[in-house]
């Protein structure tokens, strides 16, 4: 074994030492770590949500709803534009994913298209691409039928900006909860992944994310009756909106015109008025001026506050409010007032969010899983170690040493890489314990065969390591292939399994082949045995 040069031995031991150094922070608590000098590694293994408890929510931005809304807005723009240009049309409306209309006089086609083009300016896309394009595609046939649809570019543009904006709003809402280290990231085209470790009440998060929080103020129509409207006779400039209050009227008839909206809000805080929880808000200067004018001109009328299509309350305007701040009453509890304040501060979502996947784990289950995982790993380690010593005696001890180093290196690698340890991840480590000694078994069995074949101890060891290497590498590579596929396709906890399994394969290759060889070499050069106890 002349090829085991000192620097090679040093390298192997150095790598093991490095693993040890990186794994050590896990033995201390956070406080002790902060007291240590800066040059020492301090990263600990990150526990997955299934181990520390927490909520994993996958949200989908409902872009369909958003596109429909955009098209409906487009309808009124088209109406205004054509009227102003005195171009006659009929059948204007949204059908499927397009706006349709038919010109009364097909001869006006060119003029109509020219006017409509004003609604469709060139747009600069998000990001750094240089291409400029239009949002809609406008087509017309000879009979004067015009179809307006989103262009590919327009659709992407809309989706991207909606998801980006939603991401921001979601971040602000979650931040308001004050939980530690939430993960909020875009996933795929229209989805947002939210992970909140340590959250005890997932319902609270879901309530917070489930609301669009679009706030508008409308005047209540006091001339027409709600009864008539309920029977289908809604005045053209009015909307019929259900009430969110448990007592009081079930519906309100409101003026369609939005007098003021949540966009003008700069702050919202929960507070109390007459011992009732309320939400107080402050408006920006534009909003304050508008609010002042509206309240001045409409003293004595009811002013409705509408949140996500429901009237929260409709108080009477008693006097002009000029300071730019006001109060939202409603049937709030302290908690719901607080939630509404958070929602208003964070701003409205551009489109509703739908929860498409939830995985919430309570901290107790997480703690139980950690305990079970620890017991199982230690037991597996002891069982395999004892078995190896019983079976291979001294060489079993060597491989146990390698196994121990293996574990230390896995922990070190997980900490250094900032990988997340999940319950299946622990299973991956346990599986590694079982399979790690396989490499040693391959080598030892080979050495045994070589000995039976009549080789001298030193020659048998040499060729045992050399001959078994191919099988060892093969065996580990196949597991690695499977683990990498799993890493690519897996999500959440299962991905954690792929991570520990992959790291385990690599550390196993190192410890079983290199480290064991160094250990055997030390033993051999010290004792120079005539026979090998294998």
């Amino acid at each position: 074994m002349s090829y085991l040069t000192p620097w090679r031995v040093g390298l192997v031991l150095g790598v093991v030492l490095l693993g040890l150094v990186f794994s050590l922070p896990n033995l201390f608590d956070q406080k002790t770590l902060e007291g240590l000098p800066d040059w020492l590694p301090k990263r600990q293994i990150t526990l997955g949500l299934d181990l520390q408890g927490g909520s994993h929510l996958l949200l989908e931005v409902e872009v369909e709803a958003l596109m429909k809304e955009r098209l409906e807005n487009l309808v009124s723009d088209v109406r205004r534009t054509l009227r102003r240009a005195r171009i006659g049309y009929r059948g204007l409306g949204v059908q499927g994913d397009a706006v349709h209309l038919t010109l009364t006089d097909p001869a006006q086609r060119e003029e109509a298209l020219a006017r409509l083009a004003e609604l469709n300016p060139l747009m600069q896309p998000l990001g750094f691409t240089a291409t400029v394009d239009r949002q809609y595609e406008i087509d017309a046939d000879e009979r004067g039928r015009i179809t307006i649809t989103f262009s590919e570019f327009g659709r992407n543009q809309l989706v991207d900006s909606a998801v980006q904006q939603s991401l921001e709003v979601v971040r602000r809402r979650i931040d308001a909860l004050g939980t530690r280290e939430p993960t909020i990231q875009r996933q795929g085209r229209t989805r947002i992944l939210v992970q909140v470790p340590g959250e005890r009440d997932p319902e609270r998060i879901k309530r917070l994310l489930g609301k669009t929080a679009r706030l508008t103020f409308h005047l209540v129509d006091m001339e027409n009756s709600v009864q008539d409207a309920l029977q289908g006779r809604i005045p053209p400039d009015d909307i019929l909106v259900p009430s969110a209050e448990p007592d009081g009227p079930r519906y309100y008839l409101l003026k369609r015109k939005v007098m003021l909206s949540g966009e003008n809000l700069v702050d919202a805080q929960p507070s109390f008025q007459n011992n009732e929880p309320v939400v107080s808000f402050r408006l920006d200067s534009v909003g304050a001026r508008k609010f002042g004018r509206i309240t001045q001109e409409n003293v004595g009328r009811l002013f409705a506050i509408v949140l996500d299509g429901k009237v929260i309350s409709a108080p009477r305007i008693r006097e002009p409010i000029l300071g730019g701040s006001g109060i939202i009453q409603g049937s709030f509890t302290v908690e719901t007032a607080n939630e509404l304040a958070v929602l208003l501060r964070a701003g409205a979502l551009p489109a509703p969010l739908k929860i498409v996947e939830e995985r919430s784990v309570g901290p107790e289950l997480g703690a139980d899983s950690i305990r079970a995982g620890k017991i199982a790993s230690v037991l597996a380690l002891v069982l395999v170690a004892v078995f190896m010593v019983v079976y291979y005696r001294l060489f079993g001890l060597f491989s146990d040493l390698a196994l121990l180093a293996n574990m230390v290196m896995i922990v070190g690698a997980l900490s250094a890489l900032g990988a997340t340890l999940t319950l299946p991840g622990i299973a991956g480590i346990v599986l590694t314990i079982g399979m790690a000694v396989d490499s040693n078994v391959l080598i030892f069995e080979r050495i045994r065969e070589e000995l039976r074949g009549g080789k001298s101890p030193i020659a048998a060891i040499d060729s045992g390591f050399k001959q078994a290497l191919r099988a060892v590498v093969d065996a580990n590579l196949t597991t690695l292939i499977a683990a990498l596929v799993l890493f690519q396709f897996g999500t959440g906890p299962v991905k954690g399994f792929a991570v520990t399994l992959s790291i385990g394969v690599l550390t196993t290759l190192f410890t079983a082949v290199m480290l064991t060889r160094v250990v055997v070499w030390f033993w051999y050069s010290r004792t120079r045995p005539k026979t090998i106890p294998l």
Binding site: K206, G210, V356, E357, L423, P424, A482
Partner: protein, 312 residues
């Protein structure tokens, strides 16, 4: 000093003598698995079927009958209850609700409320999982893709390392292992979910690992014993690697059993799948992967290649 030996140093078991019997049995097992999946069907978990799952821990031993009565008149359709882990823990499965995701979320709250009303607020809500229909379809598709991709990649690897006959043999063994694992999940009615797919992928890796070690030895011995019949070379190779094969399976099983009994209820099915996989993986590398080579007439092929390269 006498040593403890699991397997005698040199065995000479004629593994290939009854190869038809074992091959036939293996093919039968694959067929039965397919039939079981088609008739009994797989008990898909919410990962692949969509729906809602709650895990609760009651203050005392759970009275499933009363809980069932309490939860089944909520108008949420069939609510399934099942003991999980110890007697205090209960898994509650709620069917997919009519309507949008909002309704699914509401169902969780309704069930939680009712449990607190009927059984007090000392109930611990340990876990809540909800998977929407679109996501579950994607997860299933991804799972199938992952298994197929893993098998394909592994095939490429074997192809690269050995002659094609070995690749075909290895894949045959893999198909057997994967099929019988899925089959046993159908027969026993264990929940088939994302972690089952993870287990299957691991089985693919493990089974192949075993197969490759045997193949490696077969190829080595084919070169060493040029006059021996293929059956004898295979028998000899399996016998030579037998103690390693069994040792590795044994240590892996030791670790897995520790996990099965002490790792908690959450990953018990996952561990079961892997234990099953290790057993059939060991079996298949001896009784499927090896004998298949005989039917591919490997010896003649190798001899031809050898003489061709010698001539060239």
């Amino acid at each position: 000093m006498r040593r403890f030996r699991l397997i005698p140093d040199s065995t000479s078991i004629a593994f290939m003598r009854h190869r038809l019997l074992f091959l036939g049995g293996s093919i039968l097992a694959i067929l039965l698995s397919v039939i079981a999946v088609l008739t009994v069907g797989l008990n898909f978990g919410i990962d692949f079927r969509g729906g809602t799952l709650l895990e609760v821990r009651m203050p005392g031993p759970a009275d499933l009958a009363t809980m069932r009565r309490s939860l089944n008149d909520l108008g949420l359709g069939q609510v399934q209850l099942q003991n999980f882990g110890d007697e205090r823990e209960v898994l509650i499965r709620i069917e997919r609700q009519e309507g949008e995701a909002e309704q699914q979320q509401k169902a969780i709250e309704i069930v939680k409320q009712r449990l607190v009303e009927d059984f007090g607020d000392r109930i611990e809500f340990r876990r809540a999982e909800f998977v929407g229909p679109k996501v579950s379809e994607e997860l299933l598709r991804n799972g199938i893709m992952a298994v197929l991709l893993a098998v394909a990649l592994v095939l490429v690897y074997i192809w690269f390392r050995f002659e094609w006959q070995f690749g075909a043999g290895a894949v045959f063994a893999l198909v057997h292992d994967v099929a019988t694992t899925i089959g046993v999940f159908a027969v026993v009615g264990l929940e088939f979910n994302l972690s089952t797919v993870a287990a299957i992928l691991t089985i693919v890796g493990y089974s192949l690992n075993d197969t490759v070690v045997v193949y490696d030895r077969i190829r080595e011995n084919l070169r060493r014993f040029k006059t021996l019949k293929l059956e004898e070379v295979i028998d000899r190779s399996i016998n030579e690697t037998l103690s390693r094969t069994l040792m590795t399976s044994l240590t892996t099983l030791l670790a897995l059993f520790a996990l099965f009994f002490f790792g908690g209820a959450v990953i018990r099915d996952f561990t079961f799948a892997m234990i099953w996989g290790v057993v059939v993986g060991t079996y298949s590398s001896i009784y499927i992967a090896a004998p298949v080579l005989i039917y591919f007439n490997l010896r003649a092929v190798l001899a031809k290649e050898g003489s061709a390269s010698a001539a060239g």
